[in-house]
């Protein structure tokens, strides 16, 4: 099966600045894929190259097998992009904006689908409202609607929940999950790592224009973090043998970083041997934020 997105040795330079350095990446059809990285890592540049907004200095990119330069008509029809910035055309109502966007994609009469999109994004009662009069959250929903008017198999969401309230965020993710279940490939960039952890099956991390990690979310969590054990001891003193494992010390106790769950037993044995009494103990799962920080600091 052709990958939904294929990036091969893509380099992008802006004068002396190298935004992307030999990036290669495959995203399979139907994946919910996360693209993470700090500001300036090259996420938006990569998305812009896929969307045809930027032109790669070298390398190739394909959407559903279509080259984004040589077969731009097909590749753009296969792609829906929700941009990071809250942009809108102040001359038009919500329905007009969606109808016009449909027309750009060659769809003459798309009313039935536009009504469905409006319904799903809870915009039906705002359909005839001018874009200027909408709140930021509403404008964000319209942007999502505009990316979906042509039913693209691949949907890219570039930080779609930035500045969005919790309620809308929940609604939005429910909708995007449904799209993914229905077969759409979703590519997500976000700074909310808990969102990426909860939603994405696979994650790539970009740092200074290079991919520094690319694996399933579960593997990333396992590979780099192991687990943490939070302990409250009596006396409140950590045995010297466990000091090398100490990740954090506070009034509430000690947090030890372990490479694997199996080390929990060794910690307990050490504590017993030292005569320390365990008042409270909690084994904590690693989270993506810790993985992310570790990878970025390597």
């Amino acid at each position: 099966m052709v990958p939904a997105i294929q990036v091969e040795h893509v380099v992008k330079r802006y004068g002396a600045l190298q935004a992307l350095a030999d990036v290669s990446l495959d995203i399979a059809q139907g994946e919910f894929f996360g693209l993470l990285g700090p500001n300036g890592a090259g996420k938006t540049t990569l998305i812009s190259i896929l969307a045809g907004l930027n032109i790669a200095t070298s390398g190739a990119a394909r959407v559903m097998g279509f080259d984004v330069v040589g077969q731009y008509r097909e590749s753009r029809r296969a792609l829906g992009v929700v941009p990071q910035e809250l942009v809108f055309d102040p001359f038009f109502t919500v329905r007009e904006a969606l109808t016009i966007q449909s027309g750009y994609f060659g769809l003459r009469d798309n009313r039935a689908w536009i009504d469905e999109v409006l319904h799903n994004l809870d915009l039906t009662d705002k359909a005839d409202t001018n874009m200027r009069q909408l709140s930021g959250g509403m404008k964000r929903r319209v942007l999502i609607g505009q990316a979906l008017v042509h039913k693209p198999p691949v949907i890219v969401l570039d930080e779609p929940t930035a500045g969005v309230d919790v309620e809308l965020r929940q609604t939005l993710w429910q909708f995007i999950r449904r799209l993914n279940k229905a077969g759409h490939t979703i590519v997500l960039t976000t700074h909310y790592l808990e969102e990426a952890e909860a939603l994405c099956g696979r994650i790539a991390m970009l740092k200074q224009g290079e991919i520094v990690a690319n694996d399933t979310t579960q593997n990333l969590l396992r590979l780099f973090s192991g687990c943490y054990v939070k302990l409250k001891l009596e006396p409140a003193e950590l045995p010297a043998a466990l000091r090398p494992l100490l990740a954090q010390e506070s009034e509430t106790g000690f947090r030890l970083a372990l490479k694997d769950y199996i080390e929990v037993e060794q910690v307990m044995a050490t504590l017993r041997a030292a005569g320390a009494k365990v008042l409270e103990m909690e084994v904590q799962q690693p989270d993506l934020e810790e993985v992310f920080v570790k990878i970025m600091n390597r």
Binding site: M64, G70, R77, V87, Q101, Y104, E116, K151, L179
Partner: protein
């Protein structure tokens, strides 16, 4: 639902079954997924962009149509009144009659330029140009849609000036085809220049500089308010280097059957400029000049 949409088997709302996945092609061969329509109607994209540009100015027609017509009327009132006793620019043609085609053409030119340039520059400034850049529109569709909308606004405004002034000033329509031809060619050139200015400008002051230091002087020195014969020889010679002069003179020829130069020469120069500028602009858009980075 249209036949072109029937392939879209997937409905997130109804939770329909995922459409069959496309089989993988070789490198660069592409694949026609049933999730989308690879060959949807291409002219629709061009038509939609033109229609969007039309709506953009028509929705604010007080500002984009009525205001320029009013400005032209004020010019007619002031110049027509103060210069009513000057000698006839051409035999049998009083100054106010001579002035009206010039004012109409000036309105056509300025509004055709303003439409394309302000739309593009504002879209770039606000970022909503992305809505035009993400869809599968070719550089030709992009160019001709903006151009046609600019021509449309120019013609609507010019027609507005004529419709209002024809009640106060005696006008002849000796060669209507020349009138139409020069209105189209003139608005076409200004539409293309507007696209170039819109592409080039990232800020309002850059566009204002283009307008104030290039478009406005060339328009005012094109013979809108005077016949070239009334100028000293040096200025007459200099005016012949101004392509705007040929647009105005040819347009005026259509009304009175007389002009400072042959309408064929004017048409050839204006059409040549339009063709050259169009090729340049098509090349710029194809390269993604200040659009795709």
């Amino acid at each position: 639902m249209k036949s072109e949409e029937k392939n879209v088997a997937l409905s997130p709302v109804t939770g329909g079954e995922p459409a069959p996945r496309a089989r993988g092609p070789g490198r660069g061969e592409g694949v026609h997924s049933s999730l989308f329509t690879p060959h949807a109607s291409a002219p629709t994209g061009f038509y939609t962009l033109f229609y969007k540009e039309w709506l953009r100015f028509w929705k604010v027609n007080v500002q984009t149509v009525l205001a320029p017509v009013l400005t032209a009327l004020l010019f007619l009132l002031v110049f027509g009144h103060t210069l009513r006793n000057v000698s006839e620019p051409y035999p049998g043609i009083v100054y106010t009659s001579f002035l009206v085609p010039g004012l109409a053409m000036m309105t056509v030119l300025q509004n055709a330029f303003a439409n394309a340039s302000s739309s593009l520059m504002q879209s770039k400034m606000t970022g909503n140009i992305i809505f035009v850049l993400l869809p599968p529109l070719s550089h030709r569709e992009f160019f001709f849609a903006y151009l046609l909308a600019a021509i449309a606004r120019g013609i609507v405004c010019g027609a507005g000036v004529l419709l209002v002034t024809v009640w106060f000033v005696e006008l002849r329509f000796e060669h209507p085809l020349w009138i139409i031809a020069f209105a189209l060619l003139g608005s076409g050139i200004m539409g293309v220049l507007g696209i170039i200015a819109g592409l080039q400008s990232d800020k309002i002051d850059q566009l204002a500089a283009f307008q104030n230091f290039i478009i406005l002087p060339l328009t005012f020195l094109s013979g809108v308010f005077y016949s070239l014969h009334s100028l000293p020889p040096f200025w007459q010679g200099l005016s012949h280097l101004n392509p705007f002069f040929y647009m105005v003179d040819g347009f005026r020829y259509g009304f009175f059957g007389v002009g400072d130069v042959s309408p064929w020469l004017s048409a050839a120069i204006v059409a040549g400029c339009l063709t050259a500028l169009s090729f340049l602009t098509l090349w710029l858009i194809r390269k993604g000049y200040k659009l795709r980075h």
